[in-house]
Subunit: 544 residues, 2 copies
Amino acid sequence: MRLITEVASAAGIKEEHLELYGKYKSKLAPSLWAELKHQPDGKLVLVTAMNPTPAGEGKTLTTIGLAQAMNAAGVRTVAALREPSLGPCLGMKGGATGGGKAQIVPADEINLHFTGDIHAVTSAHNLLSAMIDNHMFQGNSLGLDPQRIVWKRVMDMNDRSLRNIVTGIGDGNGTVRESGFQITTASEIMAVLCLCSDLADLKQRLSRILVGYDHAGQPVTAQAIGAVEAMTALLKEAVKPNLVQTLEGTPVIVHGGPFANIAHGCSSVIGTRYALKLGDVVVTEAGFGADLGAEKFMDIKCRQAGLAPSAAVLVVTVKSLKYNGGVRKEELHQGNQPALLSGLSNMERHIENLRKFGVPVLVALNHFEGDAPAEVNEVLEACGRLGVPAAVSKVWAEGSAGGQELAKELMKLLDREEPVQYAPLYEDHLDIPSKINRIVTEIYRGAGVAFSPAAKRSLAIIDRLGLHHLQVCMAKTPYSFSDQPRLLGAPEGFTMGVRDITLSLGAGFAVVITGNIVTMPGLPAKPAAEGILVDEDGVISGLE
Amino acid sequence: MRLITEVASAAGIKEEHLELYGKYKSKLAPSLWAELKHQPDGKLVLVTAMNPTPAGEGKTLTTIGLAQAMNAAGVRTVAALREPSLGPCLGMKGGATGGGKAQIVPADEINLHFTGDIHAVTSAHNLLSAMIDNHMFQGNSLGLDPQRIVWKRVMDMNDRSLRNIVTGIGDGNGTVRESGFQITTASEIMAVLCLCSDLADLKQRLSRILVGYDHAGQPVTAQAIGAVEAMTALLKEAVKPNLVQTLEGTPVIVHGGPFANIAHGCSSVIGTRYALKLGDVVVTEAGFGADLGAEKFMDIKCRQAGLAPSAAVLVVTVKSLKYNGGVRKEELHQGNQPALLSGLSNMERHIENLRKFGVPVLVALNHFEGDAPAEVNEVLEACGRLGVPAAVSKVWAEGSAGGQELAKELMKLLDREEPVQYAPLYEDHLDIPSKINRIVTEIYRGAGVAFSPAAKRSLAIIDRLGLHHLQVCMAKTPYSFSDQPRLLGAPEGFTMGVRDITLSLGAGFAVVITGNIVTMPGLPAKPAAEGILVDEDGVISGLE
């Protein structure tokens, strides 16, 4: 690892603009923005994926490896990534810093507390929660209806026991009511942190957060609770982007990490903007497959931030193609040409979808050791038939050397003469049901939408409060275009069931809940935490 | 503010041993210890207080001001303080970084997230909590009795609604059971962090933590749950002490912050040891009045760490003397000589008590603007009659200049020829009831102890498990020597009621609960959070 001061220096950042966290992590001070803001932006490249297997397809890995490869090819490139959440690191997933020769470092520190941003979100969120219950305890002058508090509490831990709880039990402990915890990355404050443009915008967004309704059915916001300034104080460091490096010394901005179902699943706007000033190319990623991640990246993040992506890289794997062709996950290591061919329908649809946003697409076949050459050729040939550039990526095994071909194809795409005509899928002025319908029919290819009674009641509130200008944030299974995880490939004709619609007024979107969305994961029978070891010098192993 | 690198350099710390958190905070790397450990220790001075008014007597302020004054007088002095907890900062108390011209800086960052130590304690604690419930969910091979889980969850927030909760409600969410949250500073992990000598000892202590009992009544530890290594990983940065400075550039180690009732209320052993290598004199403090703070400092912290204090500074105020003489807090600004004289009994008893530990005492009269000269003289004359050195401290108004006299008296005390004969009050080999009795009769001056049925059941468990070697950690009101907050002055003859005894096996003590001890504070009608403001440059006001 190089010192972060050296990485910064190579990226043109003077040491005075660094706020160091140890020797290998730094926050970027607002003074840097004052220096950078008049410089031209680099080109923004989104790394997204086809519908994944439960093991994931390697978007983070590919993002890191591609940034390394671009730098190796002489293009000043910065990666912009999400911060790993502690809960999943200690639970099912392990770390989230890439792997092999395409990693960001120091991996264990990034995976654990990093620079404390997620802890700050937890604190700000739970301060608001405590002030809501305290408001009711101290006389409830706002007339908050304890049955209609929508603001829960959060913790960055996988803890299913906290999903549904009863609080306030006992004498003098407040109002007894049902509540629950979400994981911190599901907090609206995380979405707000990632969508705001600066501290003033952060404060504005926090003030709009809906915490519940009063007895007359009127909305009550964080502003009314009196929590906004203190929440801003708690977040004032978290809003500054973090700089780290890859194993090859490529600068990476790792900042923010909202859920990809009930939130938009992208790293921060502020971090992306810094990256665009520092790199001629910025490679970033969005959560889940392109049906969720890329759609929200285009329709929410880029729209709100005024960003215009120049290209999208679609990560596919032989495994996920076979999975989408119907192979069970236990049998994915076996060859199965018919399933592979069948699963290509999933890739093809994602390519079509991405093109609907006016953005050129490049397929990255993330190579695994067990992939047969025939399988790899099958995928590349299919891409040829579809007229989409494609390259095999071996960045896990080889780092930048394994990403050369991918980088070359990306440079060709970025150097095209015809201008990129990015546009979001739907216009802001449409009403919420129309926006949902547009996504369901044009991206998911369902026949239509069925709203549950609860969703209809929520739509009535949206009508009454005049909130149709909001964007929609789809909360859906990542495994299928539909709301049914086992409907793989390229399904059509299904009806999308909308179970409920909730309001993230600070983030600026309505969350459309389909299927059974879990916002507080549980631990597995053998949590990743049990495999972690620390030696006497504090060196951690088993967290990757 | 000087750069922390400069403060460190002046204290003899090379930059290579710093792990910076921004420009004004740093962790001290273990490599520094390797360099320091063979150097001789400075002299350790405890700042403690008489029984306080609800506003507190200014121990932190006096500690900071005294360290500044000692440095101004040419004695290389380092202060060692506790980290402020976010909950009280946003709740009742506001910040905890001193005040006036005796402050540690950057105050707002120290008061908010600082270097993330308390967040790390929260994460480690709640990981264990989640793994306990997950263990039961996944088949409960240890046979944990859900009715006898003693390990709760923690949050660094004042949130009364979380004191008593029911968790695990709903299908697939685990075992429905009663539980609750404590504030993080009440976590045994905070006590463990503050008492451990290094990472290996931390791990040992974590492994001993009692989480509950199995259906056969046998204890179950964190080790059995499989959480210890991951908890250690989460704490590996938190265990490193933090360096900041006072307004006058005096180096201060701020590290750890356990509760002063159900824990021992002292800053970390590791931090104190570093300070003793860096300063010829180290000034440190302990929570609450001397009956709790100093007793635990002597009997728990110094004993476990093998530290020998050289002097104790007893902070008194005219207000607290009048308060102990029976004046209500609303009338403390008025003169009242009879009450002042009556309240001196409280000061006198603390002086007697401190001398029982073999440590010489110095009284610091923390001066407030409204104190009448006659009142001040009354206190100094009383100290003269008692043969105890005393000085007026005006460090709030004047910084080191206002602490000159106090520093001079302290130097006289430290330069005495006769050796200090520090000894703890009770021997480890006594049984738990005898240890409690010794404290109650010799420090509190009660007539005896009455154990509740619950306490007797706990004593039976202590018998059965052979745990009488533990130290005792008294959880008692800070306002009185007795267990009754309104029994002020120097009460005698009362019986101390012990409501329960809980086991902190990692910290190495049995917590003796008297009266109604709240381990999760609530917010007041007007939380301190509501008075905080942040401007567009991120400058915070209203947090002091």
